[in-house]
Symmetry: C2
């Protein structure tokens, strides 16, 4: 029910994913009447209908609802029930385009954290000169201690090993300079803590421009910095797209050029389009929870579904749990 | 003497600026032997030589020197002497491509802060859909209180009024969401403090992508966030430039297309090229101090020189001082 378009995006994206993945089953939690009337407008094969189940839910979490209020008053929301389905082993992963803070709160409450991890972090991939890298946290935690940043480094390293098959992913810590004297206290302390962790391929500080240069496979930062940095880049990518469109439409000659150059321009746009990398994992939970961009369209929501399927197939949370027991002192369960 | 190239960039950029601005005088502080030997290789008209003075300086501040060490041990460095020249009214502005922290420290020590302002902030312009906007702080202060953010909002508003003639610049506060519940404590408190200031055109929270969409004329944030966000965007711009180059050089047909499309591509690149906006002001000092990117080439350093000249002509610090007396309670001098 979440995101800017609710079931108008999530339902057709689900149907399309069921077509792409013949062994996939989907549970849709939401307002049954709305979902049924949307379904009635589509022509759906029996093979697909047999793998789609609709489950009724109560009032949805709104986009500006406080997480604390959501977990008190929205326990029968589609979001809450979807997370519960993962906890009950009825689903391998939960995907939502809704309120990120509430999704995180339900994740922590219902699925619990991995032993040794205090908070979930949002991790997603960004394009780089070398291909892509992962960045975390992207907004789950606006204040992070050095200890949290260290935990992010450890669990993301395990995730990237599992998902990308990159056995020694290079981990960088985002800072305002590469010199040891730079940065605030948390970052300087985190630098020491991460360096102490065995089995990490830690390359030290990276700066904002290193992210897209592909200097690291994983870039660790607090959620405020990560969120602003990611959204700034998305904003700049949109600005450049618009400038390209404007530049190529100024006169007839240029419009002809644009027609000829269309395959090149489209190829470039696809390489940098942030919506192609939709799907951010709430890392650190004992289960897979995937957050889609609220403004995702059907195609874009489909990318998040595909990412969730990969994590289920790769059994990421279990791999993280296995490796964490060797990395970190177990502090809680 | 600062930056990646020292006088190899600053000297020719100075000569070129003296040509562009017939009333400009430049004092170059540095190693006289090196400067003289570089000068000897150039053919310089008498009119230009008469407006260029070389002043000897001691050991330079290194790029990784702690600001506290710099102000103790590098009082006869080119950086220190250049700032001193502004304090002594021998120069209207100081420009450096050197260690930012040390430049800020010398600025505070020698020029002193504007009354009512606790810390200098680095402000520079970024391209937007609407043209450009200003962003501060870009790295002078890695930890900012709500009070500091409020001071940034007030003084930048005055600066943009003076430099751009924009009488009611829209001020936004950078956050991870537009809802009031979002953000960390400093940002939420700063939101209230800024709202209380009379005479500010405050539009509330803006997100990372709003920066480039041109939603605000000024975007206020702490130095860690601003630095990472700006550098990330520069990194992404470089990535896109590279992808465009690669895309247009894959085969002969595409290389022909690139040749035809060259004026369009060049035009777009110039619009988004961060080096064209080189020159960041250390705002809040009782004098003009301009920081150039360390990697600036001659052309790029020239933009910083031009920006400094504009601020001198517009008499920015005095205008800020005038307006600050009405805005903020004077706490120190």
């Amino acid at each position: 029910m979440g995101g800017d378009f609710g079931p108008h995006v999530t339902l057709p994206a689900s149907l399309s994913a069921l077509e792409r993945h013949p062994y996939l089953n989907i549970l849709l939690f939401g307002e049954v009447d709305q979902l049924d009337s949307l379904l009635a407008r589509q022509r759906i094969s029996e093979s697909i209908m047999s793998r789609l189940q609709i489950r009724p839910s109560g009032i949805s979490v709104s986009m500006d609802e406080k997480p604390s209020a959501a977990i008190r008053h929205r326990q029968d929301s589609s979001m809450s029930l979807a997370v519960q389905a993962v906890a009950d082993n009825k689903a391998g992963a939960c995907i939502s385009a809704g309120n990120t803070g509430a999704l995180m709160a339900f994740g922590r409450l219902v699925l619990k954290m991995q032993p040794g991890i205090d908070r979930p972090a949002i991790i997603a991939s960004v394009p780089t000169l070398a291909g892509h890298c992962y960045m975390l946290d992207l907004g789950a935690n606006v204040d992070c201690s050095a200890e949290h940043l260290m935990q992010f480094a450890v669990m993301s390293s395990v995730m990237v090993e599992a998902v990308d098959g990159n056995l020694h992913p290079k981990v960088g810590l985002l800072n305002v300079g590469e010199e040891l004297i730079k940065g605030n206290e948390q970052v300087r302390l985190a630098n020491e803590l991460i360096r102490e962790q065995d089995g990490l391929n830690y390359i030290g500080y990276v700066e904002g421009d290193d992210v897209f240069a592909g200097k690291a496979d994983i870039v660790v930062c607090d959620g405020f910095v990560g969120n602003v940095s990611l959204k700034s880049s998305e904003g700049l990518a949109r600005l450049i797209s618009k400038r390209v469109l404007q530049g190529f439409s100024r006169n007839l000659y240029r419009r002809c050029l644009a027609f000829l150059a269309r395959p090149v321009l489209k190829e470039i746009q696809e390489q940098i389009d942030p919506s192609r990398r939709n799907g951010a994992t709430l890392l650190g939970l004992q289960g897979i929870v995937m957050k889609s961009h609220g403004s995702a369209d059907q195609k874009c929501f489909g990318y998040a579904l595909d990412r969730a399927i990969t994590e289920v197939v790769q059994n990421v949370p279990e791999k993280i749990a296995e490796r964490l027991s060797g990395y970190l002192p177990s502090k809680r369960n």
